[in-house]
Amino acid sequence: MSFLGRGSGASPGGVNMERIEMAVTELDTVTDFFNRMVSSCHNKCISSRYAEPDLNKGESVCIDRCVAKFNEVQKKVGEKLQSRGAANAGGAAGSFGSL
């Protein structure tokens, strides 16, 4: 996105590209998080026999609890990353010599 070569500040038309980029990163992050939640809770709660098209009672209750737990895990992992100092968690930084 920074490809656009118009760093910060307003560009023609009054659009601050940096602000837009940050909003897009946030949007993509929430979407990715949501998709992983859908996929994980599907694995945990939905029987793969597919005998009927509707969620049964057990599946519905499981989904509700699964979403709550997934959110809890997100908080716990976030705390852990913060306590460790987010920046050096990747392990990849600076490790790119040559392929």
Binding site: D28, T31, F34, D64
Partner: protein
């Protein structure tokens, strides 16, 4: 997400980007659904046609996945709304 501090030009820009993302997300969900239901329902390759049993499984799988996504989405929206309310009215 809150775009209320965006000016009109920026909001118009975001709207276009969000529309594009929604189309991309829909297309990705579509192929994800094909892959998931194929993997769950098709295990017999003695024929190239779907058996009626496989077809029923596929239709149930797709329908159920959509209902599942909707339910997860509803719960997720609720928890986000609660989190925002808590952030604005700390006790």
């Amino acid at each position: 997400m809150d775009f209320s501090n965006f000016n009109a030009a920026e909001q118009a820009h975001m709207t276009k980007i969000i529309e594009k993302r929604q189309m991309q997300d829909f297309l990705k969900m579509y192929s994800n659904l094909v892959e998931k239901c194929f993997n769950a329902c098709c295990n017999d390759f003695t024929s190239k046609a779907l058996s009626s049993k496989e077809e029923t499984c596929i239709m149930n799988c797709a329908e159920k996945f959509i209902k599942h996504s909707e339910r997860v989405g509803a719960r997720f929206a609720e928890s986000n709304a609660e989190a925002m309310a808590a952030a604005q009215n700390p006790t």
